[in-house]
Each structure stands twice: as structure tokens, then as C-alpha cells.
């Protein structure tokens, strides 16, 4: 299983980014191979509109099954749902902490977008 966490860094110790569409990037952790992959989101983050849905497409293309993020808007949520990706909300400080909480089953799945979309 591949887990994508929103972050601005490139290691497990990096801080989590609470935003989804405008996060600097994603760390995708493969629980089977234990391989950590850095996925850049710079192009989407700077786009004038639709950052969230494009970020969702990027995550889907990276093969993620799970997304852990602070907040996810309605349009991005729709794409993630369509791609069969489960969204978990998490307020952890670092990527490692977030993965830990997920492993212990302490994170709740988001059943809906938890923030309003930024119309931009």
C-alpha cells in the first residue's frame, strides 16, 4: 500500500503541510517495499486555479491508496474519491508522526471535504 503525506520536505522528519492542493509536495511511502518517494507539487501549487484537483491527479498518478493531509477541499476530495483514494485528516507535526498515527489506526477517515474550496 502507498501512503501519500502532504509536506514541504523530503524526509520522514520533515514537517507536515496542512494544505492539500497548495502543499509544496508529497512523500509517498510504500508499506510493502519500505521505499520513500518524493513527489513535487510545485506546478500545481502555483497555478491560478484548480490546484487541488490537479494535486489529486498527481497523487493518483503516483499510485497512492491513502492520502494523509491537514485539510482537503471539496473538489480535490471528489477526485480522490473517484480515484479510490482514502483521505485521512491529521494534525501531526512531522511526516513520521503522521505515518505512525496511521499505523496505529489512530487517524479518522474524512467522509467529506473539511474545508471550503478557495475559489481561485
Amino acid at each position: 500500500m502507498k501512503i501519500a503525506v502532504t509536506t514541504s520536505g523530503d524526509s520522514l522528519a520533515a514537517p507536515m503541510d496542512s494544505r492539500f492542493g497548495r502543499a509544496a509536495g508529497f512523500l509517498v511511502y510504500d508499506t510493502d517495499t519500505k521505499v520513500l518517494q518524493v513527489v513535487d507539487n510545485a506546478q500545481n501549487l502555483n497555478s491560478a486555479q484548480g490546484a487541488g484537483i490537479q494535486a489529486a491527479q498527481t497523487v493518483a498518478e503516483a499510485g497512492a491508496n491513502v492520502v494523509i493531509t491537514g485539510h482537503c477541499g471539496p473538489k480535490a476530495f471528489r477526485v480522490l474519491q473517484a480515484a479510490g483514494i482514502t483521505v485521512y485528516n491529521c494534525e501531526a507535526a512531522t511526516v513520521q508522526e503522521a505515518l505512525g498515527l496511521f499505523g496505529e489506526g489512530k487517524l479518522l477517515t474524512a467522509s467529506d471535504a473539511d474545508v471550503e474550496g478557495h475559489w481561485s
Binding site: 486555479q49 490546484a51 484537483i53 490537479q54 493518483a60 473538489k75 480515484a83
Partner: protein
Amino acid sequence: MKVVIASGKGGTGKTTVAVNLAWFLANCGRKVQYIDCDVEEPNGNFFISAHFSERIPAFVMLPAVDQQKCTSCGECSSKCRFNAIVRLPGNTMIFPELCHGCGLCLLVCPTKAISEDEREIGIIERGMGWGGISFVHGVLNVGEPMPNPLIRKVKEQGLADHIQIIDAPPGTSCSFVETISDADLVILVTEPTPFGLHDLKISVEVARARGRSICVVINKDNGIFRPLEKFLEERQLTITARLPENRKVAEVYSEGNILLEELPDYRAHFSSIAAEVFRQSENLMHSPMGVLP
């Protein structure tokens, strides 16, 4: 002939001028059509007492994907500059609220899997008001971000053999530009305050850049406001009328009534505005591109 009544700042009395000018022209025996382009907050109908006989839904183009034909190649998604398309394996999703209806995705799709569908963004209502004034306005659906396509469609309802009194949306951005794009005369309504002046300057700049004829009406006039006079002089803009400030005007407006019926003193001012309209229409008649009346 198309006369647009506009103001950068909201609440300067744009609708009041538009409605009463329509009333005045109708009472001069002219054929008048009132077109309310303030599709976000249309109010003209209250003053014209419009009875609607027709409701026409307004649509914009929206791409629809035939998932059977779609190969998930991602061309449309990568070319769309509005980020309105997401490509997932076996599922290409369109986000209507981001789509500008440009049709580029139809052009780029190699398998012709995208067709044009329609999406309703508001309605156009048509009818008649008092004095035989023909009325049309657009009502943008709440939550719909882009008013311009609806404004364009409302303007298409214009009757060529009428004097079209067009109430513009407030502001100076794209919806204002859309409204004045083919106006024969733009009447800018302002008020003698630093705010009115600030916004008037921008409106003048836009209207001039678009090559429109402009005249200015000062509303809520309560004595000379130097900076405004100076600006108008510098730009060689005519002050067509000064409407004195009066609490009664606000009261008449609040009820949705006609100023010129309740306070006949104001008729002289509208006679000057109407004269300016006639003068412009004369100019039009003598120009090769002219449209009557």
C-alpha cells in the same frame, strides 16, 4: 442606440439615473428598452414594474466526456489552462465551476471523446414595464462565479429600433468592460466624494481605452468638490447634469418609485441627459456605421 449607465463605485445612483432616463425618454414618445446587465444583483425590474412574459434559461458550453471513447491519454487535462479537467485511469472528470467554455479540449482530444454539453448559469427574463418600456435582465445563479457569458446573452436581447438603456454592474473589471464593449454612449454616474472620484477615474480610463463616448452625471451634489471639478476639466469631460443631494430622493428610491414622478423638480436635469442622448444619436445617424434611432 445603446446607452450604458455605469459607475465604478456602487450606490452612486446608477440605477436611479437609468430608470428615470428611461421614464423621461418614454414620456418623450421614444421606444425604450431597459436592459439590466447587473446580473449579480439585478434591481431595475422593481422600478420599471416589469411584468415578465418570458423566462429563458442561459447556458454556457460544458464539455462532456464519453468514457467509452476516452483512452485516458491526458491531453485535455494537460492542455486546459483553467485546470478544469482531471485525468484518472478510466475516468476523466470535468469541473464545471472552473471551465471557461473555451472548447480547447474538444480540439485536442485525439479520439473525439469530448462533446459539447450545456450548463445553466442563470436565467434571462423578458417583459414589459410601465409606459410601454420593454424590459430584459439576467439573474445569475447564486454561487456561480462568472457573470460575463450571461451579460453577453442579456445584451443579445437588445432591440435595434429602441433606445437601449443599459444598467451596468458596479466596478471596473471584466464585467464592466463586457457591458460597455459596444455602447454608443457611456453615462458615468459619480458622487462628489474622494471615493466617487477615485472610481470615476478608473471608469473613464477603461471607457476611453475602449473608445467610447463619455458624459458624466454628478449625483448627491452638495456644493463644489474641487478635486472632482479639476479632474473633469483636465480630461475635458462634460458634466451633463448635477442631481442635488436630498433625503427625499433616497426615500423615493427605497420604495422603488420613480423620482421624476414624485419630485418633478428633477425633470430639468433629466432633460439635459436626454438631450445628450439625442445629440449622440444624431452623430450616429451621420456616421457610416450609424444605427437608428
